[in-house]
């Protein structure tokens, strides 16, 4: 079997494989639903309804999509430069941590000064967390996949240690929980009466900014060059290590904003269950979006919808919520294959 590049793919060839990938995912989900003894159409219908079927559902989906946009952007930025940032989870918690450290009264400022400060501090914290594996890669050639992964475990334990120690809320009845943020540190609602906080707005703005950086700035050009062919970039004079470091700073900062957004917009304090794996899900979002920052928003909405819908469906008919994860993993694997098939044809040899 051999793969041959296609010079001018037809419209059918560009549309068909991804459509078949999605369709197959739906079929797999249906089979699994039947295995659980439920009616597949009912299951899929409930997922859709739970995701977008009411004002409440849509808001829930948008809220759930917010941290996914941030982590999705973080991973997309990093992967474009072939910097395999699997540590978005740790970077997220870094952002949440710094939000709580500074936002529970240490800085007695008004919201106008406090919120931007928290944003910057969170980005800095996330950048620093990714900087360590990035430097290890650049200086010692240590593969960043494993180091960023292991860092997730290390950092979570670190946060746990702080939450049971210095950051523990004295009024928390013994639970490992931080103090609550002061009112000025909370992200306001985007519109009166809507249960949607400004974290979502910030996420959309971030997506737009990342898009501008990638398409219109020299940094974006350098990141793409380094990601596609490091040797050619180096030969041409691009400072590859510097680009990787700058990419790491941006990527880490974006993931940290997810943590900031969840704490300041939703929870109001930090607990260990702040993130049900947003950092890892961000990888799926980024891949489904083909690393395009604007598509990340759409992919995040899609993924969030599946999770929110699956939660609601599970409450209704009892099919385990892990169905959502299976669907996403299947969609991811089939989608990367589908994308390949839009650009290459399989030739029997």
């Amino acid at each position: 079997m051999r793969l041959e590049p296609i010079a001018n793919p037809s419209l059918a060839r560009t549309i068909l494989p991804p459509v078949i990938a999605i369709a197959t995912t739906v079929v797999v989900a249906s089979l699994l639903a039947m295995l659980a003894g439920a009616n597949p159409f009912a299951v899929l219908g409930l997922i859709l309804k739970g995701a977008f079927g009411s004002k409440f559902a849509v808001l829930e989906t948008l809220n759930r999509a917010t941290p996914l946009i941030f982590t999705g952007l973080s991973v997309a930025v990093a992967f474009r430069a072939r910097l395999w940032n699997i540590g978005a989870e740790a970077q997220l918690y870094a952002g949440a941590l710094i939000t709580v450290v500074l936002g529970t009264g240490a800085l007695p400022w008004g919201a106008g000064a406090l919120l931007p400060t928290l944003v910057l501090a969170a980005m800095l914290a996330g950048a620093v967390v990714l900087l360590v594996p990035a430097l290890l890669k650049v200086r010692f050639g240590v593969d960043e996949v494993v180091t960023t992964l292991l860092f997730n475990f290390i950092f979570l334990l670190f946060v746990s240690m702080l939450l049971e120690g210095p950051l523990k809320d004295p009024m928390g009845m013994g639970w490992p929980k931080s103090e609550r943020l002061i009112a000025e540190a909370r992200l306001p609602r985007m519109m009166e009466g809507l249960r949607l906080h400004w974290g979502f707005g910030l996420a959309i703005i971030s997506a737009a900014l990342v898009w501008v950086i990638q398409r219109r700035t020299t940094l974006g050009y350098e990141m793409r060059a380094v990601g596609l062919n490091r040797d050619a970039a180096r030969f041409a004079g691009i400072a590859v290590n510097g680009v990787l470091i700058r990419t790491a700073l941006l990527s880490g900062g974006l993931a940290a904003l997810a943590g900031f957004s969840e704490v300041a917009g939703v929870k109001g304090s930090l607990t260990l269950d702040l993130s049900p794996g947003f950092g890892y899900t961000g990888i799926i979002v980024a891949m489904l979006a083909l690393l395009n920052p604007l598509a990340v928003v759409a992919a995040a909405l899609f993924v969030a919808g599946i999770f929110v819908g699956a939660d609601s469906m599970s409450r209704a008919v009892g099919v385990p919520t892990y169905l959502a994860d299976i669907m996403l993993a299947t969609a991811l694997l089939l989608m990367v294959l589908a994308i390949l098939l839009t650009r290459f044809r399989v030739v029997r040899e």
């Binding site: 050009y221 060059a225 596609l228 062919n229 180096r234 004079g237």
Partner: protein, 516 residues
Amino acid sequence: MTGAEAAQVVLRLDRITKTFGKLVANDAVSLSLHRGEVIALLGENGAGKTTLMNILFGQYTADSGAVEVFGKALPPGNPRAALDAGVGMVHQHFTLADNMTVLENVALGTVPLWQPRLDPAAVRARITKLADDFRLAVDPEARVGTLTVGERQRVEILKALYREAKILILDEPTAVLTPQETDDLFATLRKAVALGLSIVFISHKLHEVMDISDRVVILRHGRLVAEMATRDTDRHALAAAMVGAEVNAPKVSPATPGAALLQLRDVSTPDQGNAPGLKRATLDLRAGQITGLAGVSGNGQAALADLIGGLTAPDAGQLDLDGVGLAQWSPRIAVQSGIARIPEDRHKTGTIADFTLTENAILESYHKPPMSRRGWMNWARAEAATQEIIERYDVRCPGPETRIRLLSGGNMQKLILGRVLEAAPRIILANQPVRGLDIGAVNYVHSQLLAARARGAAVLLISEDLDEIMALSDVIHVISEGRLSPEFARGSMTPAELGVWMAGHGFERDEVAHAS
């Protein structure tokens, strides 16, 4: 060999046709090989020689046509069947695992995978016997990564002989050899023929074809255009048949060299794994002159190219531009100082395959005006500049927004040329600039280099092809294990004499002479 034996057809290719997308690589090619015969398969780059042999060897399947080995049909697309039938191939790019020993490389695949044991002693004994019979000195326990290019080729040949190949195919085997190593190879081939093997020898080097072959088969644009006995022809006829017209190599008129624009004085750089660094190299690149660097691949050419290209700095010694030493050195500073670099491998370091032509064209200039201003890209300007390059350098492509991976090698090289020549550089570093290109592109690149020379640029031409070096250079240095020979003026050395230096001899006399 009796007349009957000699006439036996050991290999027959019958109307082989193969297309890749829209490209017709082989068009109904038929040829026969007789026992004990040496056929030269001649043609320029892209004529379809390697494709044809890959089909024979089973790495591709022909669209139509058949292959017969010793009278029996060969199942297509099955390298195993080809090997079992007695076909052995010595590839142009060696198929060896550097981290494994010679013995392991030769034994690979020769015992069925389900068998539990590999008998190293038996393998070793057989290798030693074959090495003696065919005059291929090699150490079975050596790690392939430590061998020279010539030694690696011997391992490739041994692999085929170990599998009892009766038909030996060699794909451009002399591209990386010194003249003496070429003589040794031909001695081995003659020995093989005497022992009953038949040979297909792929080459584009006419004097070698005349030397070793009994018959010549010429391919052009995928079609077999001529077939003749070697004794009935000569180099000019072959060249004409290869290209289909009179070959018009650019004429090299004598030149008057100017000042030294770039100078190396006793420069040394560190080794990089198996690739040697420079060892006290001294070199002058003069304006209006082409300096050729001859040498077997892997002898320090990369170190010199990386140095002049700005990727490394000297550990010891001096690198001067216009007589002035350099405080800092980097690829960008090199470009800024007027050095144009044509990299050795256009796929690996010269271009980014999935970038558009525009994005590739600005790789060295994107960071300053007019391509960008304070971090902000000006794509309109970039595209316009690329369009100019496309027109001026005859880059055949659908447009500047095409992905460069869709272009042919020759057009990619033209874009690279345009990218570096547009800045009117004073020094040009051309590293294997015509490797893998068809004759039209080769002549184009050479004429561009000669035009630059006429304009007063200093050109450093690094090439494994001694013919190219001797045709174009005003002065020649030989590089061996990182050491540079003294300068030889055009016409003062024969290929054999240069070959002596390429093999590393001559440097000792030189060092002794310097010491005394």
